[in-house]
Symmetry: C2
Subunit: 204 residues, 2 copies
Amino acid sequence: MDEELLTGQAEYLEAGMHIGTKTKTPGMKRFIYKVREDGLYLLDLAVIDQRIRDAARMLAAYDPDKIVVTASRIYAISAVEKFAEITKVRFLSGRVMPGVFTNPNRADFTEPEILLVSDTRNERQAIREAKKTNIPTISTCDTDNWVKFVDLIIPCNNKGRRAIALTYFLLAREFLKAKGEIKSNDEFHYSLADFEAKMEIKAR
Amino acid sequence: MDEELLTGQAEYLEAGMHIGTKTKTPGMKRFIYKVREDGLYLLDLAVIDQRIRDAARMLAAYDPDKIVVTASRIYAISAVEKFAEITKVRFLSGRVMPGVFTNPNRADFTEPEILLVSDTRNERQAIREAKKTNIPTISTCDTDNWVKFVDLIIPCNNKGRRAIALTYFLLAREFLKAKGEIKSNDEFHYSLADFEAKMEIKAR
């Protein structure tokens, strides 16, 4: 295994990548290294780091137009939108409708070979569709996520704005490296801010 | 998805790739398409085919010397030995001892980045070791296999001599193709027989 992390430990901690929830599902237990005094389950940073690498490598084995990535919550949508723009994978935003991978009569019909999901609860329909077509499914999963039908779990905080941004920032960078499109991190001309949902302050 | 199978349907059926057992575990239910009159659960050929592709692609994202493949039963040992020889991945035959991925003081210590297992029951120690180091685990799984801690399942008959041989034959060929070491099936100079356990008839 690599000794070095994909980004500084400080950056990971600051983004709260390892901060879980107060709930733990049986499938996520293996990724939890302790429970904090306030009752929050914490994820193992080294594992988060490694799984981001693994997921990026796995995705990079497919043509971008055969990869579908989904997001339904606001923070994830911003991050995944940027991820999809950079990697050229297909992005399905919001609720995935039944039949989107299986019914050729649908206008939005698509036949991905692999699926990347940002939340197994909100995007459960996407997971169902993937199951029907038996394509591998990767998902970022928080400590409270059910992992049924997920093939590769990326354990991480999939609720926080910064954490989500950092996850897809790293996934995009590692994906391009695995694809050979960039040789090093220096060639990745995006910042974490590019992946973050903008906090609009609306004038009344 | 590809319309064509990796090998002829007749070849798959002849090898009994889809023949499961009379037991089905909850994790394998999704890959079972029907139960035969004699009570055997049957696996879906198209899914078997697709998962072999997926597994080969995933493995090919790693350096061969960072891949460990295990086998414990006689038919699997022959097939996996050939697979390891062709792909240059590391082969651990027989029972995997505790600490082999985690204890640097062991003579057989190795730090793989991904694990391929042939049977989750017989090689459960290998899966435990992989879990400890949090590396992704791929396993061929029959209808009676528990799938806990397996990231990518290759549903197939992992008991039959021919079926096991065909699985690793296809995995080796697709691995070399994904690695770019061969361009087409024609360049794969091995036969199914090379992967089959030899049936010795001992003279008394």
